[in-house]
């Protein structure tokens, strides 16, 4: 690799393939392993509906309980700001939409770049607040291990480098764009094998819990 353009072409080419392959193999294999564990077959007659109750739980748990609002306001607010911001940046920034369309063939309208820019700044701020809070709050600090800080870092880097690339503060541009794409690839590779897998398992487990509550059958 002799120059920044070679680097950019490498991350847009072979490295992209490798990262996507590891990401999808990891996600599909782990999800299938979880699903194939299966559930014990229950022979009693259920009193309630499993499916709808599971769906209701998926939404219900997105609304915080009053007690949690009181005790974990920082985590709650910054957590929501980060997740909504991540969604907007990932799916409503036009260059990202182009990328997704090229892979799955579906497109949708994006947001004006200054809006995404503002969201990015707020999201980065939320992530920093979460990190500081994790460190200064004794309980959260005690519960945190290497993986928590590592996953924070691999989430933070793509957003920061993407913002730097958009503002073209690093010269030459192909270098910072390449670093941005590479940091996303690091995130993709790490995601299936860490807590970040919750992106795929979150709603599944919520539904599972809700379905169990809704069944109201006799357990044997």
């Amino acid at each position: 690799m002799e120059n920044s353009m070679d680097f950019l072409l490498w991350v847009r080419g072979p490295a992209f393939d490798v990262a996507v392959a590891i990401f999808l193999i990891g996600v599909v294999a782990r999800l299938l392993e979880i699903l194939l564990l299966g559930r014990k077959s229950l022979h009693s007659e259920p009193k309630g509906a499993e499916f709808s109750s599971g769906l209701a739980e998926v939404f219900k748990r997105s609304v915080p309980l009053p007690d949690i609002v009181k005790r974990g306001a920082v985590t709650l607010v910054a957590g929501y700001v980060f997740h909504i911001g991540l969604f907007i940046m990932l799916f409503l920034f036009v260059p990202h939409i182009e990328l997704i369309e090229s892979i799955i063939g579906v497109r949708w309208p994006g947001l004006p770049n200054p809006v995404v820019d503002a969201v990015t700044v707020i999201t980065l701020f939320a992530l920093i607040v979460l990190l500081v809070h994790r460190y200064i709050q004794p309980v959260k600090r005690m519960l945190s291990g290497f993986e928590d800080y590592f996953t924070w870092l691999v989430t933070f880097l793509p957003i920061l480098t993407g913002w730097l690339a958009y503002h073209r503060v690093v010269d030459p541009y192909p270098l910072i764009l390449g670093i941005h794409i590479l940091s996303v690839q690091l995130l993709l590779v790490v995601l299936p094998f860490t807590k970040l897998m919750h992106a795929f398992t979150l709603f599944l487990s919520r539904w599972y819990n809700g379905a169990t509550y809704g069944r109201r059958g006799v357990q044997s």
């Binding site: 070679d6 393939d17 392959a21 999808l24 599909v28 564990l37 036009v94 090229s102 004006p112």
Partner: protein, 364 residues
């Protein structure tokens, strides 16, 4: 051949007024981002500049660079400066051919040893490649280049092929072509990439050399910062549409007619450093983006292999959809295998499960 006439005399002979000459000096100063106080110095140096000998070597190229330089503009002071140089060897432009042409090259090298400028357009088959892929007068491109640059004061690689390999280097690079900077290591080299480069930029580099007797400041890819210091995207008049999120989706939709940003249509402006947006083409008439087509990124290394001219910059260059399908299949196989292994473990555990009766418990 080189004679003693100065550039000032040469321009006067061609009917350039003092005012016209000073205007050119001011334009050169601003183009090179020099302070206005430098204008008299530029004028004085150019006035006294002697005709430099230039040997122009054309290797694996299409002559587009020469066409760009010689045809695209009406006579300007830049053009006249180009006329002023002693172009002692140039396939397309010289009258001599065969042995006489080669003799002219050798004579220029001999008479101006250590002082002449070598301009190269086109890439060359690398030293480990078959020399027969491209020869001139029976001499391989590599041998001719190395022999000619030996006594050169500086080398100017004109066009992307000479600067970075360009089209000949594009995958699968059948001639194992290389750029000039890959083989010439001991001479100052200026890369003037573009397919073709802007004529003003070629003459601007020559003017800089004539004025200051040294090469201009270069960026990390060996390009003069004065011309390649800013990206197309940063100087594009369509940039406000990018910022507002207004994009042409096809080449004939409403957005295209309104002149919106061409990013989605594959414009490589964000990654491309060149002066097109400011210097423009054909005497400032227009430039690619202004004419409704995205930038191809022609002044960047490997632009032929950068993933397709009509695919947005954010799109991977490889066939990710195929990789993704294969990865999902592989993931499914691994997942099912893990599931079966878990099932086997479960049934093995169930088999080993021993039941005890109440009496047996009582015995314990």
């Amino acid at each position: 051949m080189v004679d003693s006439i100065t550039l000032g005399e040469s321009l006067r002979r061609q009917g350039v007024s003092r005012r016209g000459f000073m205007k050119f000096c001011a334009a050169t100063a601003s183009m090179m981002a020099l302070p206005p106080s430098m204008i008299p110095a530029i004028a004085a140096s150019l006035e006294k500049a002697r005709r430099p000998s230039v040997i122009w070597l054309s290797f694996q190229e299409c002559t587009g660079c020469t066409e760009s330089l010689t045809r695209s503009h009406a006579p300007t002071v830049e053009g006249l400066i180009f006329d002023h140089i002693s172009l002692d060897y140039h396939h397309t432009l010289q009258v001599a051919s065969g042995d006489q042409a080669e003799a002219a090259r050798e004579a220029a090298m001999h008479e101006n040893a250590g002082k002449y400028i070598v301009v190269v357009d086109g890439s060359i088959p690398g030293p480990d490649s078959n020399p027969g892929y491209s020869t001139i007068a029976g001499i391989s491109n590599y041998d001719m280049l190395m022999e000619t640059v030996k006594g050169a004061a500086a080398v100017i690689a004109v066009g992307t092929c000479a600067a970075y390999g360009g089209l000949p280097v594009a995958n699968p690079n059948p001639t194992r072509a290389v750029a000039i900077q890959d083989v010439v290591k001991d001479k100052p080299i200026v890369n003037v990439p573009g397919c073709p480069p802007i004529p003003t930029v070629i003459t601007g580099v020559l003017a800089h050399f004539l004025t200051f007797a040294k090469l201009p400041e270069l960026d990390s890819l060996g390009r003069p910062v004065a011309f390649y210091g800013q990206s197309i995207h940063d100087r594009c008049y369509r940039r406000p549409f990018y910022d507002k999120g207004l994009f042409a989706e096809t080449f004939d939709d409403e957005g295209a007619r309104k002149g919106w940003c061409l990013y989605r249509l594959g414009c490589k402006g964000p990654m491309t450093y060149n002066a097109c947006a400011t210097a423009k083409w054909n005497l400032g008439t227009s430039w690619p983006v202004e004419s409704g087509h995205g930038c191809l990124g022609c002044s960047e290394p490997n632009f032929w292999d950068a993933g397709g001219f009509y695919r947005a910059l954010s799109i991977p260059t490889s066939d990710v959809t195929r990789t993704a399908a294969a990865a999902v299949a592989a993931g499914a196989v691994i997942g099912v295998a893990a599931g079966l292994a878990n099932k086997a473990k479960k049934s093995a555990a169930a088999k080993q499960h021993q039941t005890v009766t109440v009496d047996q418990l009582g015995e314990g």
